[in-house]
Amino acid sequence: MKTINYLSLVAVGLLLIYASLGLPYRGDSDALVNQDTSLIGTPVASSYYIQNAYKDANTPNIVTAILCDYRGFDTLGEEVVIFTAGIVCFLLLNRERKIEKKQR
């Protein structure tokens, strides 16, 4: 059983390495995501951001402009997730402590 596990692990690893050979190189200007239009002729969002982020928001750091302006709703959801984690931690741990105190 153990040999089957290791063999399947090696097989999946080789498959991932083979799949990574088809990816474009980092910062390749010929890659599909860096083109102005996609394969079916619609405009691509990333080239719009690169060309217009400084003009629209006066922000040299494109990552900040995208995170807080163009995709602000996404960041709002992320923050609500963190807030929910804190609230759940607060509620669960405090409730346990109160039950323990009642039983004593």
């Binding site: 922000t59 807080c68 709703f73 607060f90 402590r97």
Partner: protein, 145 residues
């Protein structure tokens, strides 16, 4: 922790290092337009500087720095700042979170969006800082050894 640390090195170093971490966190939040960083990273660094004091000192000391009862309300305030910026833009005629429509008339339109990004980042930083401190405080509740 509840009891203060025994080692004078830890006490001195945590006192000396913590304000600098906090200053760098504020720099990361407010300089996020020009350099890598932003609300999330800066808020986490502010939380790290508070947690350093909380680990090294006793309870009486760190309650003076940042009260335990403040952390959940301030986190809610951070989320409300973010939500309120979006809601003001929506009430003044734009889409939700469209920073063009913020009521800052004396600035150019690009600068209005700049200020909107700044408000959003302050909200994110406040929420992340207080929530991380709240998780630490609730994990270390009173059944300490």
């Amino acid at each position: 922790m509840k009891k203060s640390s025994d080692s004078p090195i830890i006490l001195l170093l945590s006192r000396v290092i913590s304000p600098y971490i906090m200053l760098f966190g504020l720099y990361v939040i407010f300089h996020g337009h020009y350099s890598p960083g932003g609300g999330f990273q800066g808020g986490t660094m502010l939380a790290a500087s508070i947690l350093l004091i909380r680990i090294a000192m006793e309870e009486k000391v760190y309650e003076m720095q940042f009260k335990k009862s403040f952390d959940i309300p301030l986190g809610a305030l951070g989320v409300l700042i973010f939500f309120g910026v979006g809601l003001i833009a929506m009430l003044l005629g734009g889409n939700f979170l469209d920073h063009h429509f913020l009521p800052i008339d004396w600035l150019a339109p690009a600068d209005v969006r700049f200020m909107g990004i700044l408000f959003v980042e302050v909200g994110v930083g406040l929420a992340v800082m207080t929530i991380l401190v709240a998780i630490y405080d609730n994990l270390l509740e009173d059944d300490d050894a």
